[in-house]
Symmetry: C2
DNA sequence: CCTCCATGTTTACAGGAGAAACTTATGAAG
DNA sequence: CTTCATAAGTTTCTCCTGTAAACATGGAGG
């Protein structure tokens, strides 16, 4: 599909090319301070070309975030439903997958949860984020059904887990869970503390 | 000290005035996309004046973040050590204070934990952030000493709590803990889930 | 009283966002 | 096959920003 058509005027799939360039820069710089002009330049088009595909710079950023959520959801799903894991193991696998994703894509992950990825003005982005969240909800329901997890209102449990995993991810990519501060294996230790509160067996 | 001296040339305490203006804009806009020129304009000075007090825009942002950590630490400390609370109650009070702070100062809170407040290039900022973190560490030590908290390595416990509270705060100010998604009192519910994992009494 | 220096201001410049007007390839209709 | 409407690029333009450099001012110390 993406045969390197280098014909002059019409690019073929400039939208995708711009997204790829931007994702590259996001991964390289670990931030999204890049200018739209720089993205255009690196993609080899004029600085006004991107405006044919994105209303403004922020619309491109939201599209990047949406793609991020798609990828995160896929990564987590694969990690959790690969083998016949217990619910608790699934939880750990999913959480680790999320945190690994953040570590491998710190810029993208931060963008996904930043104010620049405003979900109130972008339905597709909002939906993608919700789908990711629902992976967690489903798992908690499963855990409560089979008696592994404490039967408390799913909402508070979900908030706790979501916050915990997301908070850990943010701290990890912020380098704020270094050994000096918090020990050797803080992530799994922290997740175990959480699971002690979630699971039935103390 | 800040007698409203409106003498022309020398401002008196421009540095402080710029910081106040910027804090205002941060609170109003809930973001820090404001330009340095706009800050100068609103403070009533020329657009180059700020450079006499801050190397560049980012240095101002880091100073705002530092002030944020000072305030957060003070707020949490006051909430936790007001009365003769139990350790568990102290924990809840501190966590709630942190989350309330985030809710009341969403822009500032986000800035404090953003990449724009780079703690690796700003010692005072780094120190202020550490002091805040140490409030939590002290509390956990106290809880383990008096037998309220499980005697596991303090590091994992700290990571869990830090991540949980920070994650909750971020989700709350991101409006991602709305009722539709997660229930009525998600914050305290989530904190209780965490405390179940931290405390000894199941 | 004079003079220095911190703290202002003015001026200048390189770049970015985005709008508008212009250009070109493509593919559907005749 | 030719025509031509249109999507997708480009050029040009205006306004704004960050930041540097040169200049101005006025208050404190000799």
């Amino acid at each position: 599909m993406s045969e390197t058509k280098d014909r002059s005027y019409h690019h073929g799939d400039l939208r995708r090319a711009l997204i790829d360039t931007a994702l590259d820069m996001l991964a390289t710089d670990q931030n999204w301070t890049f200018t739209l002009r720089e993205v255009a330049r690196r993609t080899g088009v004029s600085h006004a070309a991107p405006y044919k595909h994105f209303r403004d710079r922020e619309e491109l950023l939201r599209e990047l975030a949406r793609i991020g959520f798609e990828r995160l959801a896929e990564t987590m799903t694969r990690a959790m439903f690969s083998d016949g894991l217990s619910v608790r193991e699934k939880f750990m696998a999913g959480a680790q997958a999320c945190i690994d994703f953040a570590l491998c894509n710190p810029g993208l992950y931060r963008l996904m949860f930043s104010a620049d990825a405003d979900k109130t003005v972008d339905q597709p982005l909002h939906d993608a984020a919700m789908r990711t969240f629902h992976i967690l909800l489903q798992l908690l329901e499963e855990g409560q059904r089979d008696g592994s997890f404490r039967p408390i209102p799913i909402s508070g449990q979900a908030a706790a887990c979501w916050a915990q995993v997301h908070g850990l991810a943010m701290l990890v990519i912020g380098g704020q869970l270094l050994e000096e501060k918090v020990g050797k294996e803080p992530v799994s230790a922290a997740l175990n503390v959480l699971l002690n509160g979630v699971c039935c067996d103390t």
